[in-house]
Amino acid sequence: MSSNATKTKPAPSGLAPKVSESPWAQARRRFFAGRQGPWGLRILGFIVLFVIVGPFLAPYDRFSVPAPSEFVFLGRPPSFEHIFGETAQLQLDVFMLTVNGGRGSLLIGFVSAIGGITIGTFIGIISGYFGGKLDGFLMRIVDVFLAIPSLFVIIVGARIISELGGTGLMTVIIVFVAFGWMGTARLVRGQVLALREMEFIEAARALGVSPVRIALRHVLPNAVGPVVVSFPFAVGGAIIGEAFISYLGFGVSPLSPTWGNMLSNSQQFFLQGNWWWVGFPGLFIVLTALSVNMIGDALRESLEPEGRRA
């Protein structure tokens, strides 16, 4: 039944042509099309840049102490020489402290997040994919950990670690990772459980694809969505968590500065008038938290668009 019609060209309808995209490309387009994501990236990028390049910009060593003739107990406020002002007591340069503190805090944030998520994903996949007794056992452990209010756990964990003598960055990272993998594990396990029943996995099995290949090539890429979304939030959470336990005195020792322990050292002088020692690390913490949240939300919306009705 052949048609003797001539082929007609589509009428110009004033719309951009549709190009077929992979889900990743789609997500990327959506991410950069919005405002949140790119701005979050810009802010975070600025902070990272600041932290890396900072030391080369300022002429001061962070341990340098001014001459006795310039002694001001509360520290001098921001000026041309000390852009962020000076601390109280030792009158160290707050700019340098903030930069170095940033390195510490960001390091803790990213490494904890990566560590926690990697372990969590690994356990989640094993638990979800192989199921059975292994799954039950692992999930009971997760439940037990999660039943304890997390603040308590972190504080106690940090206290113990500090007791054991290590108060450096590494130990804080270890505490965060040790108590932070559970959320991701549960999340990933849930994804894997749902995916396992999906028809394309059945189809792969029916075609004789090996379980390992199914796990890596089919399950993992599809399960990874929520994990990617949770990554920025994990970074933010770790940075704020570190700030908090340092504020309480359980975190990193002041010898290696982080934004958190800057806050803990400076708070007593805050009410006396030295607002810059608290203000600048505080500002950076807020900006980091904000940017990281923006990135996370933008990721979530671009990977799982809300309420799209075809």
């Binding site: 039944m1 052949s2 003797n4 001539t6 007609t8 309808s13 004033g14 719309l15 951009a16 549709k18």
Partner: protein, 346 residues
């Protein structure tokens, strides 16, 4: 069934466009039809033809932010296009009722069936809640749901698919509307239940003298229930007329292909006839007749301009410049078929 000269519903040049992130897209174009009191008009078309969108646009159920509706829709002489939500409210449910395709998502999952019916009554008929609940049970009875008083206290997920759809019918009837729009009411149901529900729908509307606007892609449904048919393709109406006539002697190529593509017992042993190609999507409508790329009667004139909807001698409307050839072709086909039958009895 009283026949008055003015139709209940008059639709003229209804056009619907959507605002998308890629621009404004015109999805439905120049749709015109009439619906007389008490009659059943079926709007037939494939998915994507724009039939559901058109029906929803009649009472402005589309998102006001995304959809632009142009043209005229007159219900009982009153213009509906451009009315505010508040002005439309008494008409929705009270003048025009709606039945949706998938009752499980269309019904409120956390409210009882009885309450969902009662609220229509309370909204449109100024009765108390107690009376409304009693009436609701009555409507459930009318749609042949057993133990209606118990069912009224249940939630949608506790009913079977067929019962849910009956409940939807009861809900639509409870406003005592003059017409009901039924959007693919049986598509989501089991084949065995489809016939029952359809039959129920037709009976209850006929009993009340209410008109029925039936949206469907199923020609079998149409043949059974409709008085008149309007065929839609790619956002336009291509043919309207009495059901029996359109189905037996289609005047437009699309309708003809549609009808012949339904597998029939008489054509047993012959190759299944299909329509080559695919329905164009709204962002790529061809210039000229939209069916031309797939049409075997097409000539070059078909692609230069959109054919207008023209009236034939017998009152039918067709959007095609090759109608004569189509009708001749059908007649010829019948002669051949008759000849073959005569020949094959050997």
């Amino acid at each position: 069934m009283s026949k008055s000269s003015t139709p209940l519903l008059t639709v003229r040049d209804l056009a619907i466009s959507f605002r998308t992130h890629r621009g404004t897209l015109r999805v439905v174009d120049g749709v015109s039809f009439d619906l007389a009191e008490g009659e059943c008009l079926a709007i037939v078309g494939e998915s994507g033809s724009g039939k559901t969108v058109s029906a929803m646009a009649l009472i402005s159920l589309l998102s006001r932010k995304q959809a632009i509706i142009e043209g005229s829709v007159k219900f009982k002489g009153r213009e509906l296009v451009g009315l505010s939500e508040e002005a439309l409210r008494p008409i929705r449910g009270g003048g025009i009722g709606v039945i949706f395709q998938e009752p499980l998502s269309a019904l409120n999952p956390v409210t009882t069936i009885g309450e969902q019916i009662a609220e229509v009554i309370v909204a449109h008929r100024k009765l108390s809640w107690k009376e409304a609940h009693k009436l609701a049970i009555g409507y459930l009875e009318q749609v042949e749901i057993s133990q209606p008083d118990q069912r009224a206290k249940q939630f949608p997920h506790q009913l079977s698919g067929g019962m849910r759809q009956r409940a939807m019918i009861a809900m639509a009837l409870s406003g005592e509307p003059s017409m009901i729009i039924a959007d693919e009411p049986t598509t989501a149901l089991d084949v065995t239940i489809q016939a029952q529900v359809l039959d129920l729908l037709r009976r209850t509307t006929t009993e009340r003298g209410a008109a029925l606007l039936l949206i469907t892609h199923d020609l079998g449904v149409v043949a059974e229930t409709a008085d008149r048919i309007a065929v839609m393709y790619a956002g336009q109406i291509v043919e309207t007329g009495k059901a029996a006539q359109v189905l037996r002697e289609p005047a437009s190529p699309y309708t003809r292909d549609l009808v012949t593509s339904v597998p029939s017992f008489a054509a047993r042993g012959k190759k299944l006839s299909t329509i080559t190609g695919m329905v164009p999507s709204p962002d790529a409508f061809p210039a000229g007749c939209r069916f031309a790329p797939r049409c075997r009667y097409a000539i070059s004139a078909c692609t230069s301009a959109v054919p207008p909807l023209e009236e034939l001698k017998d009152g039918r409307l067709v959007r095609c410049i090759r109608t004569k050839e189509v009708l001749d072709g059908t007649a010829a086909g019948k002669r051949t078929a008759a000849a073959t039958r005569k020949g094959s009895t050997r």
